[in-house]
């Protein structure tokens, strides 16, 4: 079932193990289900539209939140993304999974929005500490290995600060890889670039973050 597959994906605690299994989703089955759902949406079936939103809403919101760093802004962007999806769904030809296609829309909308927004609302962005205070300790919702957890909290803060300073395309590529678990070809489609470009952007981003990590150790 499409809904169950994707909802399970969203509900699964994020971990390195899950990321490696992300490519194992049975796309052929999903494609068939997606095609039927898209066909229903294109005929104006409101229930189908509701299904499509409910399947992808957390995924869209999550990516928007990570790219923009503001909940209200992410919520607003998510609405815009779904409106855009329904306006252009008739032009979707199955050139990718629907999820990847929606990712692409999210990234384009976020790229347009964050250019000016981040400069003006940087002070109201969510810091990791605030987030942890509001939603509890990270240990309760992760299954990171114990030996890594000891250094994770401070490391995570510093890494996210460095991540925030990365160029948009590098940051997006790394978020799509590490948080959303997309394969290189899916990242390439979402960003509208070649796979080789994705590799180089990931390498550059990780080099920058590794330098931050080395600075943290010294």
């Amino acid at each position: 079932m499409l809904s169950r597959t994707v909802l399970n994906f969203m509900a699964t605690p994020i971990s390195g193990g899950f990321v490696k299994n992300a490519g194992a989703v049975a796309w052929s089955e999903v494609d068939t289900q997606e095609a039927a759902l898209i066909a229903r949406c294109n005929t104006g079936d409101e229930a189908a539209c509701a299904d499509l939103v409910s399947i992808h809403q957390r995924m869209v919101y999550s990516l928007a939140l990570h790219l923009l760093g503001d909940r209200d802004e992410a919520l607003d962007l998510s609405q815009e993304v779904f409106l855009r999806v329904f306006r252009t769904l008739s032009s979707f030809r199955g050139q990718s999974a629907l999820r990847t296609w929606i990712y692409r829309i999210v990234i384009n909308q976020a790229r347009n929005r964050q250019r000016w927004w981040r400069r003006r609302h940087r002070s109201s962005q969510v810091s990791l500490d605030d987030h942890l205070q509001q939603f509890g300790d990270v240990e309760s919702k992760t299954d990171v290995l114990p030996d890594r957890q000891l250094a994770s909290k401070e490391t995570s803060t510093r890494i996210w600060q460095a991540l925030d300073r990365l160029p948009f395309d590098q940051r997006t590529a790394l978020i799509l890889r590490e948080i959303d678990g997309l394969r290189y070809d899916e990242i390439a489609f979402s960003l509208g670039v070649a796979v080789g470009t994705v590799k180089s952007r990931l390498t550059r981003a990780r080099q920058t973050l590794r330098a931050e990590l080395l600075g943290l150790r010294t």
């Binding site: 539209c49 609405q79 987030h131 990270v138 890594r148 994770s152």
Partner: protein
């Protein structure tokens, strides 16, 4: 057999190795390298640590968070906006127009009535903007433009006051000059050299061209020849070639003037010394006033190559 790879190769593939994007052969080769290379292994650990740190600090809320409830409401708000957009779209409103067909015929009738009314209004507007030559507006415009082509003046006259409208043209203070021919009569060389008399009424406009002309009288060899096709064509050609310096008021304003020319071609033969003296009667210009001309002007337009003397009337 496991291929040996060096650090340079391994470092190029470390990110893809961590991300599981290598082929099986590459994966095995890099793994074998990492067994003995502590530096590359440390790099791999760093990359994995970075990934863990990113995932750890991600802002994904728990399922029981209030934020999740807000996100779940995204569905309803999106659907409301989609529905509203659909309702406000042009296509939807156009379809709504035809949902109640009872209104179709009244709407079509009203549209037709508006169209006809609009067409009538436009036709009336169009017809009123056309200026008819016999209309009062045209007459007023003509009278308001003395010296124009449609209201030519009389050269050399002394009239300064319009009797109907009491109009006084200050330019007429010293009378209006005669239009002066720019050529020496070459335009009339095509006229056959026979005794002939032509009376022509014409208007010389502000550009010095003959605008309207009329052949009033034509005689050849002493007999009435008015209406001869040849004479008409000949005069037409001569008139078209004629150029004048336009008539001017004393202050130099060019005006159109009415002109009547009497063109007389007379052959004077050398008198026979043995014959009795012959009295050559002077050519008399038929200076009768012929409407619509208001004056008769005499143009010096006679040439005859056969005789040295010519008479100009």
């Amino acid at each position: 057999m496991i291929p040996y790879v060096g650090c340079e190769y391994a470092r190029e593939h470390l990110d893809a190795f961590v991300d599981g994007e290598l082929s099986v052969d590459e994966q095995v080769a890099v793994e074998s390298h990492l067994r003995w290379c502590r530096t590359c292994a440390a790099r791999v650990e760093d990359v994995q640590l970075i990934g863990d740190a990113i995932r750890l600090g991600s802002l994904v809320p728990n399922a029981d968070d209030e934020e999740v409830q807000t996100v779940n409401h995204l569905q309803s708000s999106v659907l409301i906006r989609v529905r509203t957009e659909e309702e406000l779209s042009f296509g939807a409103r156009f379809r709504d127009m035809f949902t109640d067909m009872r209104l179709l015929w009244p709407a079509l009738g009203a549209t037709a009535a508006v169209t006809v009314g609009l067409a009538l209004a436009l036709s009336v507007l169009y017809s009123t903007t056309l200026e008819r030559p016999e209309s009062l507006a045209t007459m007023l415009e003509t009278l308001a433009d003395p010296g124009g082509e449609r209201n030519p003046l009389m050269p050399g006259n002394s009239a300064r006051v319009d009797r109907l409208f009491g109009y006084v043209d200050s330019d007429r203070a010293g009378g209006i000059s005669m239009p002066r021919a720019m050529d020496d009569g070459t335009a009339f060389e095509s006229i056959p050299e026979q005794d002939a008399t032509f009376a022509v009424a014409a208007v010389v406009n502000r550009e010095g061209r003959i605008a309207n002309y009329e052949l009033l009288k034509s005689e050849r060899g002493g007999r009435q020849a008015r209406g001869l096709l040849f004479d008409v064509e000949m005069l037409d050609a001569a008139v078209r070639q004629s150029r004048f310096a336009p008539a001017q008021t004393p202050v130099g304003r060019a005006v159109a003037v009415n002109m009547v020319w009497l063109i007389v071609m007379t052959t004077v033969q050398t008198p026979d010394p043995h014959a009795l003296p012959l009295r050559v009667p002077a050519a008399v210009a038929p200076a009768t006033r012929i409407p619509p001309a208001e004056s008769i002007e005499e143009a010096p337009l006679k040439r005859s190559d056969r005789l040295e003397t010519s008479t100009t009337a």
